[in-house]
């Protein structure tokens, strides 16, 4: 149906104008496949417009409140002046990782380093640089992994992305050192940053990736990221996402993972702060023996909003999946959890688990949780469940009766609640870093850019009480 009379909102108008004006510029250096993909995505976007909370999959996420803001969709590249560590320091530190970064939607590196092969065989760099170097990989995987569950905003990132990260782990390469991607947003205007990433793991390969969305300034923004992940036969990825952004910024992370035979994905999304954050995790289990272990933790307050959309497609027999998302919402924070397990007719011997637990600390906090199973095979083992509750009064009294003050008892219980998820983080140094951040967040001490050299003028809230949660 042609919507010639479609009325576009302010953001839609500026995105359309931007694409039409910059079409040639966007397509410079891009292969015909990418040029075509941009055009198709743009057409799709013009047809559907941006999603709103009246769409079933966006119910209770008032994304449209962003649409009358004036976001600047064009972000000229910043020349490389300082090393990334001079601009920012990510919260997660002291753990041994190879660091790459994006600045305002552009791959940020010294001249000539747009694409590098590291010692251990890992290829990392800018997606634009990579598509020239690896046309056959782009033919095979670019735009091929994300098939369903796309929408107006994924169309925008696909049409308008300036740059993004390309990661390629060749067959048989097991990357020992973790890779850390730090996304920096630092401009004086309100920006919409559209980027897209392509991550390819060859057969029998292995990678740990930490994706940090925590280095942004205090301006409102809209970060829209589209990521495709290919896991070849017996490949294994650990993907950690850390989200700690200001209360005026919206973040959409749309991640599509395609898994071949015996591949394993382990995802842990840690959301500590942000105005509106939506994580879309779509996993297609296309080869027998594939396993997806998807976890998330969210700690929201103020008027923050978190939306986790998890979709696992069991397309073939003998695959396993697990979804565990837990969250604490305080004050007027709101949240959505939408968990879907789809088991195709032939996908016998599927084992799928899903759980979402929430703690609401105030009567004005809200969560809308919808665990959902759609099963067409008959020999499967699936379970799902969701809870919404308060902290256990019995447990609180028990702790207080041992002399632990009320506020510390609260903290201890909330921290314990999150431990089930953080306990699954396999890299010890990363886990203790994240656990420390969660403690700080629960104490109200975590400044958004606490460690950031650029924006550290925000005072750290003084420590009001001490709780001994160290390991003995």
């Amino acid at each position: 149906m042609q919507n010639t009379d479609k009325k576009y909102n302010r953001l839609e108008q500026s995105l359309i104008a931007f694409f039409e004006k910059k079409k040639a510029d966007l397509s410079a250096n891009c292969s015909p496949k990418i040029v075509l993909s941009r055009q198709q995505a743009f057409d799709e976007f013009q047809r559907t417009g941006l999603p709103t909370s009246t769409d079933e999959n966006w119910k209770n996420t008032r994304i449209e409140k962003l649409y009358n803001e004036s976001f600047q969709p064009d972000n000229p590249p910043t020349g490389y002046e300082k090393s990334a560590s001079e601009i920012f320091q990510c919260e997660i530190h002291g753990f041994d990782a190879h660091v790459i970064s994006m600045l305002n939607g552009w791959y940020y590196c010294p001249e000539g380093m747009q694409l590098q092969t590291l010692k251990d065989g890992l290829v990392v760099g800018s997606i634009i640089a990579a598509q020239k170097q690896y046309p056959e990989l782009f033919d095979r995987y670019f735009d091929e992994i994300a098939q369903n569950r796309k929408h107006g905003l994924t169309a925008v990132s696909r049409a308008l992305f300036r740059d993004g990260v390309f990661i390629y782990v060749p067959d048989g390469v097991e990357v020992k050192k973790a890779l850390q991607l730090i996304k920096i947003v630092n401009r004086d205007e309100k920006m919409m940053v559209n980027s897209r990433n392509l991550i390819i793991l060859g057969k029998n390969s292995k990678l740990s990736l930490l994706h940090c969305d925590d280095s942004i300034n205090h301006n409102p923004g809209f970060i829209n990221t589209f990521t495709e992940v290919q896991l070849g036969e017996n490949a294994s990825i650990e993907l950690y996402k850390l989200q700690n952004i200001n209360n005026e910024t919206a973040l959409l992370n749309s991640t599509f993972i395609r898994q071949e035979r015996n591949s394993r994905s382990k995802v842990n999304v840690v959301t500590l702060n942000g105005g509106l954050i939506r994580n879309e995790l779509n996993v297609d289990l296309l080869g027998e023996g594939a396993d997806a272990d998807l976890n998330g933790i969210y700690l929201m307050d103020n008027e923050q909003h978190i939306d986790n959309q998890v979709f696992v497609n069991h397309a073939v027999p003998n695959c396993t999946s697990s979804e565990l998302f837990k969250g604490v919402l305080d004050e007027k924070a709101t949240g959505v959890f939408n968990g879907n397990i789809f088991v195709a007719r032939d996908a016998q011997n599927t084992n799928a688990f899903q759980r979402n637990n929430n703690i609401l600390l105030s009567p004005t906090a809200k969560i809308d949780t919808r665990p959902f199973l759609e099963i067409y095979a008959d020999d499967v083992k699936c379970s799902h469940g969701a809870t919404v509750g308060q902290l256990d009064e019995e447990a609180l009294f028990y702790l207080k009766q041992r002399g632990i003050p009320r506020q510390d008892a609260y903290l201890l219980l909330m921290y314990a609640f999150t431990a089930e998820v953080t306990g699954k983080i396999a890299i010890n140094a990363l886990r203790s870093n994240i656990e420390d951040m969660i403690k700080k967040r629960l104490r109200g001490e975590l400044a958004i850019c606490e460690k950031c050299v650029l924006h550290c003028n925000h005072p750290v809230i003084p420590l009001e009480f001490e709780i001994d949660m160290s390991r003995v």
């Binding site: 256990d392 447990a395 001994d468 160290s470």
Partner: protein
């Protein structure tokens, strides 16, 4: 006097449960509180420890010379009041070690003492674990999670040993225990008895009192203490049953 309860009236949701209870406990004494179910024994424990929802409508609880009515449960605990719970709570995600260290250091902080160094803390844990025959694996697990009934009760006594309270209230610590566990629990309690602390042992059965020998036995009925005596009263009760009390009350 360590604890002096005078004419205590306590209501839950407007329903009066304790109806003028009097009890005095001196340092060095063990008082047993017996009585049929539903006479307010656990309500007494809840009122002393400051549990929410238990409203003192009349009378007072004087502990170490002060009315504790307005003190929060944690402050009462820090002042040395300990409750061995009838139903210890499971707290997934909080390890026993972490829990105990947090509690101990909270109490030390209240008393203006520096936190206990890790080595000293671990040594103390080991010592007290042996006292109640707790196996090492128990302290590495989450608080009470997956513990058997007996383990949970032993764990309460272990915590008591760690925190060294001045007033310990044992609420039906014997319920659900086999004779071996009962002996271990009693041994733990007896080891902690001293001229400086007092115990209130709430029990339905006389059995526990064979192992923890009380100085005084009180019988509760319908929200009051209706009879008090020496340890012989417990045996008398065992023989005659609670109907005897009900008739005389």
């Amino acid at each position: 006097m360590l604890l002096n309860i005078k004419n205590l009236h306590v209501s839950i949701n407007g329903k009066e449960i304790l109806k003028g209870l009097n009890l005095g406990v001196n340092k060095g004494e063990v008082h047993a509180i017996m009585g049929p179910n539903g006479t307010g024994k656990s309500t007494l424990a809840a009122a002393i420890t400051g549990r929410e929802g238990y409203e003192i409508t009349k009378g007072e609880i004087i502990y170490k010379g002060k009315n504790i009515k307005d003190l929060s449960p944690d402050v009462r605990a820090n002042e040395g009041i300990f409750l061995s719970f009838q139903y210890p709570v499971e707290i997934p995600g909080v390890s026993m070690t972490n829990f105990m260290r947090t509690a101990l250091n909270a109490q030390r902080e209240y008393r203006k003492l520096p936190p206990m160094p890790a080595a000293g803390f671990l040594k103390k844990m080991e010592e007290k674990k042996q006292l109640v025959e707790i196996h090492a694996r128990m302290t590495n697990r989450s608080v009470n999670e997956g513990f058997s009934g007996g383990e949970k009760k032993k764990n309460e006594i272990f915590q008591m040993a760690m925190l060294e309270p001045q007033l310990a209230i044992l609420d039906e610590t014997d319920s659900g225990l086999d004779i071996d566990a009962l002996q271990v629990v009693a041994k733990g309690v007896n080891a902690l008895r001293s001229p400086d602390n007092g115990f209130v042992v709430i029990t339905h059965y006389q059995r526990l009192l064979e192992y923890i020998v009380p100085d005084f036995v009180h019988v509760m009925y319908d929200g009051r203490i209706v009879k008090s005596g020496g340890k012989g009263l417990a045996f008398e009760l065992e023989e005659k049953g609670y109907d005897w009390i009900k008739k005389t009350a």
